[in-house]
């Protein structure tokens, strides 16, 4: 059997009902699916029946990690946790939560490529993995404690270098809106309750082993330096946000915030970020400051430094120090997270006494972060908070819950924008205390059902940005027109895809973007300027397919989709072009399994089609177009009634979107009427058995 680098060769399997622990040969069983989501979908397809429910003991919880994790390939610290999503409405379907941190690398160093968990323990347990010693241990002492304490206690036993993935009280209480977290600030959304249903509190890993790089070490060094040389800032933004001496372009909206005179003010002593010339690979970590991106310019004053996953030079989790948060609210004065996690607290509030970008906003973030990340509550890309705002201000909460319960909340505090309100709400969500908290913890679809609210109404509200099946949009038309919309129809949770948005939000002039799009997709018309959308075309369909396939590829390899694919670079001498072949280069050299970009894309296509097959099988219908790939009304709505495809509006046209779906299904090799993959397509991507199984159930078009 050929020996590969990258993979460790062993996939760990644990049955919590029987206590059995064993391994499978990764190469033999899962190589064709790489790892990560690919491995997750494969296990669910092979081993789980469609009738299985998320909390059944037979339900699988797969910590999927790929061959790149733990190597020096930039931005590889990704774990894809695949399971049925209990929030997915009306029927839980396959979904993946994504977490960064150190978990992926540490598991690889312990000698395992992924962990597949099944069964249910009789009483609370945690899984201990110390190199090749794997044990199921008693978790009575840490059950009922937050994620932070669970981590601390396991660390006491396994040592300070151990990495712990844990659920909080939310997951323990089977709150569907739960996360699994590791390394302080890294959360995988949506699977926490599945882990809780298995009585599994945490997985503690300590690994001292190694990952082989198959290729020549000198060549590997060159390749990594090359990869670093074409990277931008967070989300691969290719231009700085203010004019820099070396830069031809700039964009105030860019995440590349560094500039001379702008400092990490809370560092001791403060550090000037300086003009980060992209050729200076020793200064990549200064480019991004998401404290500023998410909090406004006040972010500089609270930044200690940047943090994030193993092997990543970008550092998208700002570490912020807010003494007033400690003084006023008793939370630790230092916190870190990014995006929805960083915004967790503030997103509940409509306003703050000192404005949307002031100190209270920051304090609300601190309070929210510390609680959500300890109780382990999921925000569902901030849909939790948007729903809350709407439900409160439209009087629905007052109408639906008892008077007594309503009075138990300090609503005046909430309306004023007092972060201490969060102490009343968040713990209750984690503990399912009261009607409001319980319903919020279900996920939007079930909330609407429980309270007899109309999902159709929810889909009309352009501020809610709810999409379908409990999940919101994630980078849809507002960023990328039809391409964004199609992407948002394809998953059973918010699509978590950044391939497209990394290109179009990077700040390059539209003409430069169009040139790059022409290289990649055959026509400059594949991208439009924001708010100046044009009708659908085949270039956009190709871009959509590329975005999806690459996202699955990254989630299976363990490469960060918030950076890759590298369509652009900050380098003028490259015409701002990135390198679309870099995944293939990294994969081939690390594993020794040579694949060119087209071949690797076929693997990605296999993985994504398997996700499609799973969705079809578990929904019990092939009518994807009609029943799954739906588009909410707000996408077609413009408050000023501007005509579609004129400048200044982001709404789209229903008919054009139908054409868009046609074109998309065509490039995917799927049946236009149903949106289901054809038998030929399944076979083409190596899923002949899947086609057979679906054929037997009449789920082929």
């Amino acid at each position: 059997m050929a020996k590969f680098g990258g993979w460790t060769g062993k996939t760990l399997r644990v049955n919590l009902s029987t206590g059995k622990i064993w391994t499978e040969d990764t190469i033999e069983k899962y190589k064709d699916y790489l790892g990560g989501t690919g491995l997750g979908y494969k296990v669910i397809w092979d081993e789980m029946k469609p009738e299985t429910k998320p909390f059944d003991p037979e339900s699988r919880l797969i910590f999927g990690i790929g061959p790149m994790a733990g190597t020096g390939a930039p931005c590889n610290g990704r774990t894809a946790i695949t399971s049925l999503f209990p929030t997915c409405w009306p029927k839980p379907l396959v979904g993946t939560g994504h977490m960064g941190g150190q978990f992926a690398a540490e598991l690889k160093y312990a000698g395992y490529d992924s962990i597949i968990i099944e069964g249910k323990a009789d009483k609370p347990v945690w899984l201990s993995i110390v190199d090749d010693k794997v044990e199921i241990k008693d978790a009575r002492k840490i059950w009922g404690q937050g994620i932070r304490r669970a981590t601390a206690e396991i660390t006491q036993e396994l040592g300070p270098e151990a990495c712990v993935a844990a659920i909080g009280q939310a997951g323990e209480n089977l709150v569907p809106m739960s996360v699994i977290m590791n390394s302080y600030s890294h959360s995988a959304g949506g699977n926490g309750a599945v882990m809780g249903s298995k009585n599994l509190k945490a997985i503690g890993v300590r690994g001292t082993g190694s990952i082989t790089i198959a290729g020549d070490k000198g060549e590997w060094e060159k390749l990594l330096k090359y990869n670093l040389s074409i990277m931008g800032a967070n989300n691969n933004h290719a231009v700085p946000s203010s004019p820099q001496p070396w830069a031809e372009y700039f964009n105030p909206g860019s995440r590349w915030k560094a500039s001379k005179g702008l400092r990490w003010e809370a560092a001791n002593p403060p550090i000037d970020t300086g003009a980060c010339d992209p050729h200076d690979l020793n200064r990549i970590a200064y480019r991004t400051n998401n404290a500023v991106t998410y909090l406004g310019d006040i972010g500089w004053s609270v930044t200690v430094r940047e943090n994030v996953c193993t092997g990543c030079p970008i550092r998208c989790h700002p570490m912020i120090k807010v003494p007033s948060a400690k003084a006023k609210y008793g939370v630790p004065e230092i916190g870190m997270n990014t995006c929805g996690g960083l915004n967790f607290g503030r997103s509940f509030f409509k306003q703050f006494p000192d404005g949307p970008r002031g100190l209270t906003n920051v304090e609300a973030c601190m309070v929210g972060m510390h609680m959500a990340d300890d109780y382990g509550i999921w925000c569902n890309y901030s849909q939790l908070q948007r729903d809350f705002v709407k439900l409160y201000y439209e009087g629905t909460i007052k109408a639906k819950i008892s008077d007594k319960e309503f009075k138990s909340y300090s609503w005046s505090k909430y309306e004023k924008g007092d972060p201490s309100f969060l102490f009343e709400l968040l713990p209750r969500i984690a503990r399912k205390e009261g009607e409001l908290a319980t319903v919020l913890g279900l996920g939007t679809g079930y909330l609407l059902e429980k309270w007899g609210l109309s999902e159709a109404e929810w889909k009309k509200d352009k501020d809610l940005v709810y999409w379908k099946m409990s999940h919101p949009k994630h980078h849809s038309n507002e960023d990328c027109g039809q391409c964004g919309v199609i992407l948002n129809t394809q998953y059973n949770r918010d699509c978590q895809c950044h391939s497209h948005t990394n290109l179009v939000r990077g700040g390059l002039p539209i003409q430069v973007q169009k040139k790059i799009a022409e290289d990649l997709f055959g026509t400059p018309d594949a991208v439009d300027a924001v708010g100046a959308f044009t009708p659908m075309n085949t270039g956009k369909a190709k871009m959509t397919k590329w975005s999806l396939l690459r996202k699955e590829l990254h989630d299976s390899l363990s490469l960060c989709n918030w950076m890759a694919p590298y369509a652009t670079s900050p380098l003028k001498e490259r015409g701002y072009k990135g390198d679309d072949t870099i995944e293939a280069k990294l994969y081939s050299m690390a594993t020794g399994g040579k694949k060119n970009p087209e071949e690797l894309d076929v693997v990605a296509e296999r993985i994504f089609n398997l996700h499609r097959a799973l969705t079809i099988r578990d929904m019990g219908t092939k009518e994807m177009r009609e029943k799954h790939d739906t588009i909410p009304d707000w996408v077609y709505y413009d408050p000023d009634k501007k005509p579609v495809y004129t400048k200044g509006t982001i709404h789209l046209d229903k008919q054009d979107m139908q054409l868009a779906m046609d074109m998309y299904y065509e490039v995917m090799g799927w049946d236009k009427k149903t949106g289901a993959p054809t038998a030929d397509t399944y076979k083409k991507v190596g899923l002949a058995r899947v086609a057979e199984d679906l054929g037997k159930k009449n789920l082929l078009p």
Binding site: G72, E161, T212, R283, T310, P313
Partner: protein, 244 residues
């Protein structure tokens, strides 16, 4: 040249090298130079003292990697560069610059409650080999004289051919900087990548620098109490130089 002149020459050359880090004054040293000095590795004509004489590293290193903990962003690319680019495998447990062990809770771990690291105030101490001046603890402890001085940077380097995998060196270093490659059963340590340290090149936060050697042994707190044993032969040679 007779024995006595040879020794004078050795001493002159030694004393001439940068930053003498010796408790004795130059005058005292010359006074006791009548005593035999054995096996100074850098000066090859005098190697012919014979294999039975223990190795004593006298000369300073020429370069050293130093670190700024306030800039470290805990990405661990230094650890990865160290092992991937030198050994062809990603093995941070073997990295010759050490960050992960301090990353979560600081250098004293979770029991030390230093308030540092990702779970504290964010400060990350990067542990680096000090390329110790004489006496070099790991070299002194090695029963096989497998830790030698090697150009171009005069780094203290494990000679794999001589290493027997006893791990005595690990017990000798107060900063716990010796690594062990259990795939090869050999100790390994920072060798400054022959003058172009890969960790320095790899750091995206400008937190590491490769500079002219300076004595860091009195500037960085020890991590542990060394428990290595010095062989009688080496102890005897210490006596030869240092006894009054």
């Amino acid at each position: 040249m007779d024995n006595r002149d040879e020794k004078h020459e050795i001493l002159e050359r030694f004393l001439g090298s940068a930053e003498l880090n010796h408790p004795f004054s130059r005058r005292q040293f010359l006074k006791i130079s009548g005593v035999s000095i054995v096996g100074i590795s850098a000066l090859s004509p005098l190697f012919a003292r014979g294999a039975t004489k223990p190795l004593v590293i006298m000369e300073q290193a020429k370069g050293i990697v130093i670190a700024d903990p306030t800039r470290c962003v805990a990405c661990r690319r230094c650890e990865l560069a160290c092992t991937e680019f030198n050994d062809g495998k990603a093995k941070p447990s073997m990295a010759r610059i050490k960050v992960a062990r301090n990353m979560n809770f600081g250098p004293k771990g979770i029991y030390g409650q230093s308030g540092q690291g990702n779970w504290g105030n964010g400060l990350i101490t990067q542990d680096l080999c000090k390329q110790c001046p004489h006496p070099v603890p790991c070299a002194t402890a090695c029963p096989n004289d497998a830790i030698v001085m090697k150009g171009p940077a005069n780094a203290r380097v494990v000679d794999e051919a001589k290493c027997i995998g006893c791990k005595m060196c690990q017990k000798a270093c107060p900063w716990e900087m010796l690594s062990f490659d259990d795939d090869k059963n050999k100790a390994t340590k920072c060798f400054l990548c022959d003058g172009k340290p890969k960790c320095v090149e790899a750091c995206p936060a400008d937190a590491l620098a490769y500079v002219a050697w300076r004595d860091m042994t009195d500037k960085v707190p020890a991590r542990m109490v060394p428990t290595a044993v010095v062989s009688p032969e080496k102890a005897a040679s210490c006596n030869e130089c240092h006894k009054k």
